[in-house]
């Protein structure tokens, strides 16, 4: 079902006109209300009145994750705090998180785009949806929750974790939709038998999976393991949270809700726009956002765009499923992690060298993280107990800083290869 035919099936020309109007308003809004953007636009030697249509977007400055960090926590908000009704946060590149704020209208728009996404997956008020994304500062849980309520689903806000209870409620309540990360969906499928369940106990029909990059092969595997239809939901907290784009039953790219989020693809090095179909960094401009509107936010996700009409009838631009990034950000169990965050913690503690290596792997379909760090002479002790205490202390510090459990292994100096160019800090064994 198409939730909002007017917007989702609009002609390309009408969409351009709408986007042009919205862009002009947006630029005025940020120029007037966000000191950071006023300065950046002035620096580029342009005025808001130079923006006549959506094509002029290329004249505008980019925004990066570091800009959000530099203006932590609320420096990029475009409205007074009294108009902000919700704050979410995700991990930043170093110690500080990236904070976003929503006005009432932003929350309304978020519900709207999620209603479109979920309808695209064939979900309706007849469904019982188990939301196993984490609830809290992470946008996943609450974002999907509001969208599911909007289309009238019976929502089970179980949040993430506790596999046994997930399966029990799925069976007892007869959940027909599961919303979680693809890796958790795979983990739950593999845990069926050992918890005494089989597919016959479940009424699951649809999966709405996202918050981490996953391949088409994994989508097919999940469909097979669960006997369901699996869909990819894309989003990021900086832009909105889940619901920026979603794939339809054609599975030929994810429809971007481009009346709210205008996508561009730029070359990773030159940052110049590339032609449709060419791969590059995915950039979004939040056309309607009030709380924290962003101009040309570079997601660092790699994708391509396709503006042809989809067989599902929607005319909205489609982005290719994300399978990689142009920076070193890792997504571990749905949590964003930059190696620089690890480095930051190690340097702050000062109890080991700063030479480390991160090993990411998948065990029973769950991401695991191991940190090998070189022990330096100043911290060498003569008992195993003290070495183990040191490792545990680093584990605690990392856990509280990045929100992930990390196994720490101490290694000898020079065991981690020194590289002459850019240091290799991560071995991701999940990649096949």
């Amino acid at each position: 079902m198409i939730w909002n035919k007017e917007m989702e099936c609009m002609s390309r020309n009408e969409m351009r006109d709408l986007q042009s109007e919205r862009l002009k308003q947006l630029v005025n809004h940020v120029y007037t209300n966000v000191a950071f953007y006023r300065q950046r636009i002035d620096e580029m030697g342009i005025k808001p009145s130079d923006i006549h249509s959506i094509d002029d977007i290329v004249k505008l400055p980019f925004t990066y994750k570091t800009d959000l960090r530099d203006h932590y926590p609320f420096g990029l908000f475009a409205v007074p705090m009294k108009e902000i009704v919700r704050v979410h946060a995700s991990s930043g590149t170093t110690g500080k998180p990236t904070t976003v704020g929503y006005t009432k209208k932003d929350i309304e728009n978020w519900r709207e785009v999620l209603a479109r996404c979920l309808s695209m997956c064939g979900i309706s008020s007849d469904d019982i949806m188990q939301v196993s994304y984490g609830y809290g500062l992470f946008t996943g849980g609450l974002g999907v929750h509001y969208g599911a309520e909007t289309i009238g689903c019976s929502v089970i806000p179980i949040s993430g974790g506790n596999t046994r209870r997930q399966l029990q409620l799925m069976s007892d309540f007869g959940s027909t939709v599961l919303a979680c990360t693809p890796s958790y969906a795979l983990h739950l499928a593999d845990a069926l038998a050992e918890n005494g369940y089989s597919l016959a106990d479940m009424k699951l029909k649809t999966g709405v999976f996202g918050a981490e990059p996953w391949t088409e092969n994994m989508r097919l595997e999940l469909e097979k393991k669960w006997g369901i239809k699996a869909f990819d939901i894309y989003g990021l907290s900086e832009i909105m949270g889940p619901g920026v784009a979603n794939d339809c039953p054609a599975h030929a790219g994810l429809h971007v809700h481009e009346d709210h989020f205008f996508p561009e693809i730029v070359h990773p090095d030159t940052k110049m726009p590339v032609a449709d179909g060419e791969e590059g960094e995915l950039v979004f401009t939040t056309l309607t956002k009030e709380g924290i509107p962003l101009l040309r936010y570079n997601t660092r996700d790699l994708s391509t765009l396709n503006r042809s009409t989809c067989e599902c009838g929607r005319t909205t631009v489609r982005m290719k499923k994300i399978t990689g990034r142009s920076d070193d950000m890792l997504i571990i169990r749905g949590v964003n992690l930059f190696p620089s965050q690890i480095e930051h913690v190690l340097l702050e503690m000062g109890e080991t060298s700063a030479h480390y290596m991160l090993y990411v792997d998948k065990v029973n379909n769950l991401d695991t993280l191991e940190l090998q760090v070189e022990l330096d002479e100043a911290n060498m002790v003569d008992t195993i107990k003290d070495l183990q205490n040191l490792a545990r202390k680093i584990e605690h510090a990392l856990n509280s800083a990045v929100g992930l459990s990390v196994k720490v292994t101490l290694v000898e100096p020079k065991t981690i290869a020194r590289s002459e160019g850019k240091a290799v800090r991560v071995v991701d064994k999940r990649k096949k």
């Binding site: 070189e374 022990l375 330096d376 002479e377 060498m380 002790v381 003569d382 008992t383 195993i384 107990k385 070495l387 183990q388 292994t409 101490l410 290694v411 000898e412 100096p413 020079k414 065991t415």
Partner: protein
């Protein structure tokens, strides 16, 4: 009361202990006593050597994580019950033993003890006139 012990961080890898021993051999350093503490991921090589400074320098040059620690050294009578007698004294003073190893040097029986309280341990040794051994005596 104490002599210097080398503590070397040692990953669990085949042939690794021998690589360290080869460094010592190459530098003509004699090992008087040696013990390895092990865990699942790594171990600590503890050694009493003829020239701790030279050993430290040689191992550092090969990028090992190595440090020198002062460890209590006691000379025991070569008779049944002498070690037990010493440990009784530590227990009575509520001193916990982290690790211990013993070796013979010539006709001497030597006990190396690492406790949770070095100062208090030295007091116990003095009060009970326990005999210590110096680095010179075992060179």
């Amino acid at each position: 009361m104490t002599i210097r012990q080398l503590s070397v961080f040692l990953e669990n890898k085949t042939g690794h202990l021998n690589e360290i021993l080869a460094v010592l051999a190459k530098n003509n350093i004699n090992i008087v006593a040696l013990t390895v503490a092990d865990s699942s991921d790594y171990g600590i090589l503890r050694a009493i050597v003829s020239d701790p400074e030279k050993a430290l320098e040689a191992l550092r040059a090969e990028h090992y994580t190595v440090r020198v620690h002062d460890i209590l050294s006691l000379e025991m009578a070569a008779a049944p019950g002498s070690m037990s007698h010493i440990l009784d004294l530590f227990t009575a003073a509520d001193i916990c033993i982290e690790y211990v190893y013993a070796f013979s040097f010539g006709s001497k029986s030597i006990l190396m003890i690492r406790t949770d309280n070095l100062d208090k341990s030295i007091e116990v040794m003095k009060a009970n006139e326990l005999k210590s051994i110096t680095e010179e005596e075992i060179k």
